[in-house]
């Protein structure tokens, strides 16, 4: 498994991220079904459509949400979870 704290990653192309009217929230679609996402999760994954690094992602979020204190830790925790779930994969090149 790749190390998401150093290597760039992106949303796994198996997944499709979109807003669903029926669920009233952002969801991740995959071949066998869908998962509902929290606003935070959707906000983070929405920035992983193109290859990005953990550092860059945190910097972007801190710029857009300056009031969120524990942000770097929350993002790292979410990313390690997302990697476990296969939602994010190593970006090539």
């Amino acid at each position: 498994m790749f190390d998401h704290t150093t290597a760039p990653f992106r949303l796994n192309p198996r997944y499709r991220l979109q807003y669903e009217e029926a669920q009233q929230c952002q969801v991740l679609l995959y071949p066998e079904g869908l998962v509902k996402l929290s606003d935070t999760a959707a906000e983070i994954l929405g920035r992983c459509m193109e290859p990005i690094t953990c550092q860059r992602l945190i910097a972007e979020l801190q710029r857009d949400y300056p009031a969120a204190d524990s942000l770097p830790d929350d993002v790292r925790e979410f990313l390690s979870d997302a990697r476990q779930q296969d939602w994010i994969v190593a970006a090539e090149g």
Binding site: P13, R14, Q18, E20, E21, A22, L29, Y30, P31, L34
Partner: protein, 369 residues
């Protein structure tokens, strides 16, 4: 919610376990047009459907497949293609990728050239391998599907190694379920308990040895279970199947239940059909149940099992799925297992397999008349 679009019943293969109806239409004249499919997809999207499976028959037979995928992707569907790979080539894979296909599932009939040809009825093994590699090369997520029965279930381990070598990320080892053509051929197809155990053990061994990137799912045949599977996640809750000619079914096999009337998208909107048709209400929830299901504590979990199987094995679609050991008709399942065993012992050619093709469909219809 899932929409399964059975684009056509035409198929270059002849798998004897095919889930298409025994009464195959003689021609493709009455198939839904491109415009009709587009309308149906829009209506399904409005109802909240997000997953779309293009299947058949062989969906690649439809020349408008790329157009349908592009339109569906634009509507926000997650598009899956379920195919035998016959009719696929490099250019078409590229076309579908452009159009927005998210996942392709390729089915194999055997883990080697000969078995694959014997059960698919066409020498297609090398082509399937090539198309599997090409799909992966073009970066489209891919699953392989291996349909199991008595004559190929011993190949599970070979197939897993083949799939791993090809670089597949997901393999489904799906035992034949006994509806339609498979039910007709049940004596010739149903594996023994020992075969099944060995196949499950082989899958388990593979998983333990290779903790790689490939996931393997093993689906057992209902006949060796004590409790039934939940009916398609609940009749009229999750799945909509549209047949090539526009009939709307709550599950892929629902047509086997005699006496049901199927609404058609040419006559009514999908929303009316989903919400109001008597077909979709018929087995929704638990009110329709009779004993022993009606007073069983399990009823919310399994919803009394599969309505199609209940009908096929007992003649009553309201009955408890006889897979359940609480069903008064449970012995029918044991009878079927013993009949299949007797057939295996008598030598495989006692009654030959009936392959799925229009000529055999016509013969069956004539025999029934």
């Amino acid at each position: 919610m899932w929409l399964l679009a059975e684009l056509t019943y035409a198929c270059p293969l002849q798998c004897p376990y095919c889930s298409n109806p025994l009464q195959l239409p003689a021609s493709r004249k009455r198939e839904l047009s491109t415009e009709e499919w587009l309308r149906v997809m829009r209506e399904a999207r409005k109802l909240g459907a997000v997953q779309l499976g293009f299947s058949g028959g062989e969906p690649l037979v439809r020349q408008d497949l790329g157009e349908l995928i592009a339109a569906a992707d634009g509507m926000g569907f997650y598009c899956n293609l379920i195919t035998s790979a016959i009719g696929l080539n490099e250019a078409r894979i590229a076309e579908f990728r452009e159009a927005g296909i998210r996942h392709i599932q390729i089915s194999f009939q055997g883990s080697d050239r000969e078995t694959n040809a014997r059960f698919g009825g066409s020498d297609s093994f090398e082509h399937k391998l090539a198309m599997t590699r090409e799909t992966i090369r073009q970066g489209i997520p891919l699953g392989l599907n291996f349909v199991l029965h008595r004559h190929n279930i011993h190949q599970v381990s070979d197939f897993l190694h083949l799939a791993e070598g090809l670089g597949a990320e997901f393999v489904e080892l799906a035992n034949t379920q006994y509806y339609a053509w498979a039910l007709h051929n049940r004596d010739q197809l149903l594996p023994s308990a020992a075969q099944l155990q060995e196949a499950e053990a082989a899958t388990h061994r593979f998983r333990q040895r290779h903790q790689g990137n490939m996931r393997a799912l093993f689906v057992a045949p209902d006949y060796y279970e004590q409790r039934p599977k939940k009916c398609s996640n609940g009749w009229g809750t999750t799945f909509i199947t549209i047949t090539p000619e526009g009939d709307v079914l709550p599950c892929q096999s629902a047509r086997v239940i005699a006496g049901l009337e199927f609404p058609n998208v040419r006559q009514d909107s999908l929303e009316n059909i989903w919400r109001g048709s008597s077909l979709f209400q018929k087995f929704r929830g638990t009110d329709w149940m009779q004993e022993p299901c009606a007073s069983c504590p399990e009823k919310e979990n399994d919803l009394g099992g599969c309505r199609c199987q209940a009908f096929l094995l007992t003649g009553d679609a309201h009955a408890t799925d006889p897979i359940c050991e609480l069903s008064p008709e449970h012995h029918r399942v044991g009878d079927a297992v013993r009949a299949a065993q007797a057939h295996a012992e008598a030598g495989e050619d006692a009654v030959p397999l009936l392959f799925r093709n229009t000529a055999n469909a016509r013969k069956l219809a004539a025999a029934e008349a």
